[in-house]
């Protein structure tokens, strides 16, 4: 009996000691295994897919993000990421005050579209005052104006094989990559692409979209975080999968470890 108690006591002590070592040895203990592509990280990332599917199941496909009033616009829209692109392609369209800018809708569509800024501005526009939530944690309320993406996709005729929109941008992210600064890009599923609040915003807070905020055109995908709101968009490509772009995870920040869905 005494032997048994001692064993059990020792077992408890061992358990407690190893548990406290596991928990208190300093958090850098966990750094290994959390890098991109590591097995542990890939296992943990499955929770992101669970979040995406759970939200697509529970959140009505047409459920709208909260819209605010003019009184809720208390400040300018905080720009983040690139605020003044320097790529030759962007400088060329910017020099002419975006008169030569074209928005292209390509990929798995029946009729590829190419629209000038004037043509975009001539389309029926939606104006919405929404809250921009950065993945970093801050929020900012602003008013956005532009045509809905859905009717444009209908006009182009989305082919049945298409599952995602890839948003190609003029700006690059100088992150020290050996292949040079990679272009910013983003992607969404077709639920978000056809969502009534998904617009190609050319206007902000009653004026033209400023360069720092993505002029001439940026995405507003209102049920997602800030990094999904691609700025300086020039091409929307319908694809069946996005693995051939960038790092293959569906966006610049996704390639750097952020979740693709971006709705949480």
């Amino acid at each position: 009996m005494r032997q048994l108690i001692l064993n059990r006591r020792r077992l408890l002590g061992l358990g407690a000691a190893s548990a406290s070592t596991l928990l208190l040895s300093g958090c850098d203990w966990y750094d290994g295994g959390l890098g991109m592509g590591d097995g542990l990280r890939s296992a943990l990332e499955r929770a992101n897919a669970l979040t995406y599917h759970a939200q697509r199941l529970l959140v009505g496909q047409q459920a709208l993000a909260t819209e605010y009033t003019d009184a809720d616009i208390r400040q300018g829209q905080r720009p983040n990421g690139t605020v003044d692109p320097q790529t030759p392609e962007y400088l060329a369209v910017k020099a002419n005050n975006f008169a030569d800018y074209r928005l292209n809708i390509t990929g798995l569509v029946n009729t590829p579209l190419s629209l000038s800024l004037a043509e975009l501005k001539a389309l029926p526009a939606r104006t919405q005052i929404t809250r921009h939530d950065c993945v970093e944690g801050w929020s900012c309320i602003a008013k956005w104006t532009g045509p809905q993406l859905g009717p444009l996709l209908d006009r182009a005729g989305v082919q049945p094989a298409a599952r995602f929109c890839v948003y190609h941008c003029y700006d690059t992210m100088d992150d020290g990559s050996l292949d040079g600064p990679p272009p910013y890009y983003e992607s969404s599923d077709l639920v978000d692409a056809f969502h009534p609040q998904t617009i190609l915003a050319y206007g902000m807070n009653g004026g033209d979209l400023p360069i720092a905020n993505g002029a001439p055109v940026r995405m507003r995908i209102e049920r997602a975080l800030g990094y999904k709101q691609a700025k300086y968009v020039h091409t929307i490509e319908l694809v069946s999968d996005f693995t051939k772009f960038g790092g293959g995870r569906g966006g610049y920040w996704e390639d750097n470890g952020y979740d693709w869905y971006g709705g949480i």
Binding site: R8, R9, L12, G15, A16, A19, L23, G26, C27, D28, Y30, D31, L34, R41, L44, E45, R46, A47, N48, L50, T51, Q55, L58, V59, G60, A63, L64, A65, T66, Y68, D72, I73, R74, Q75, G76, Q77, R78, R131, D133, C134, V135, E136, G137, W138, S139, C140, I141, E222, R223, A224, L225, W253, N256, G257, Y258, D259, Y261, G263, I264
Partner: protein, 298 residues
């Protein structure tokens, strides 16, 4: 006379043992330890997520002085953990409700090797991963958030069936015991009864029925996807930035509970308490009668 009585009674009492009672079901024990792991990783990854923007606000949005449009900027921050340049070099500075404190010594705002300091809200030894990596911290955070919610669901169902849940909220009789229990705790005299004492019931009720729901619901309130489905939820908390603040404050309350919990385990007998949460069996005090029908052991 009194001294003699005490001398006689005390050693005998200390040796006297009550029954070894079966106190914690397998569901209570397993969920308890799963929560230990979950809350540890949620805390450490959460602090790194906080570090991405180490400022907390009241309301829907975050006020930025440089975005001022009218006569005055939206000034709704109540906590900021940052760094400032001083004549003596950079220092960690925490600003709470308009009052600034030098928190370099606490590792808040500035930490690591003094010759090559890191400027971040919470120091690397507290965060997972130890380096600043928001994307990875979010992966860790949301994985364990799912586990926490799933385990809480298991605990709720199991505890409803085995009636453990009814043992936790303090009842009228418990409240009458409150002054006595407070005195006993102050004298570090702990009774080992079948039921939790009232201070335990209050602490566990606060954690399970207030802090857990609060931290989960404020977490969900920060999801723009869920905001579209449940717009009333984030409004209930007073806006997304207030929800973020409540999420942070609830985390502080859970850390405070953890510290008290560990101290109480150490004071009340760590061997008996750990045995309870591992095997389910708890050595009751001598005043507890033996009851074979309740699976008591000698």
């Amino acid at each position: 006379m009194a001294t003699i009585t005490e001398d006689r009674v005390e050693p005998r009492d200390r040796r006297a043992k009550g029954p070894l009672i079966y106190r914690q079901s397998i569901f209570t024990r397993v969920t308890h330890w799963v929560w230990v792991v979950c809350l540890f990783f949620l805390l450490c990854s959460g602090l790194n997520i906080f570090n991405a923007h180490p400022t907390l606000y009241i309301g829907e949005q975050s006020g930025f002085p440089n975005l001022q449009t009218g006569s005055q900027h939206l000034d709704n921050a109540w906590l900021d953990i940052g760094a400032v340049n001083t004549p003596d070099g950079p220092r960690g500075q925490t600003t709470l409700l308009g009052h600034s404190f030098d928190t370099t010594g606490l590792g808040l705002g500035m930490s690591g090797d003094p010759a090559n300091p890191e400027f971040r809200g919470f120091p690397g030894w507290l965060t997972v991963p130890s380096y600043y990596d928001l994307g990875t911290s979010r992966v860790v955070h949301f994985f364990f958030a799912w586990i926490l919610v799933a385990t809480l669901a298991v605990w709720l169902v199991a505890s409803a069936f085995n009636r453990h849940i009814a043992e936790i909220p303090p009842g009228p009789r418990d409240w009458r015991q409150l002054p006595r229990d407070v005195l006993n705790h102050l004298r570090l005299r702990f009774e080992h009864r079948r039921q939790y004492n009232v201070l335990q019931k209050i602490a566990y009720s606060v954690v399970l029925f207030i802090l857990f729901p609060l931290i989960m619901l404020t977490g969900m309130s920060m999801s723009p996807g869920l905001n579209a489905a449940l717009p009333w939820l984030v409004e209930l908390f007073g806006g997304r930035q207030t929800a973020r603040s409540i999420h942070f404050l609830t985390m502080n309350a859970l850390v405070l509970f953890f510290i008290i919990h560990i101290v109480m385990v150490l004071l009340a007998g760590p061997f008996n308490e750990l045995r309870q949460m591992i095997t389910g069996r708890y050595r009751a005090g001598p005043e507890v009668g033996f009851d074979a029908s309740r699976r008591d052991k000698p």
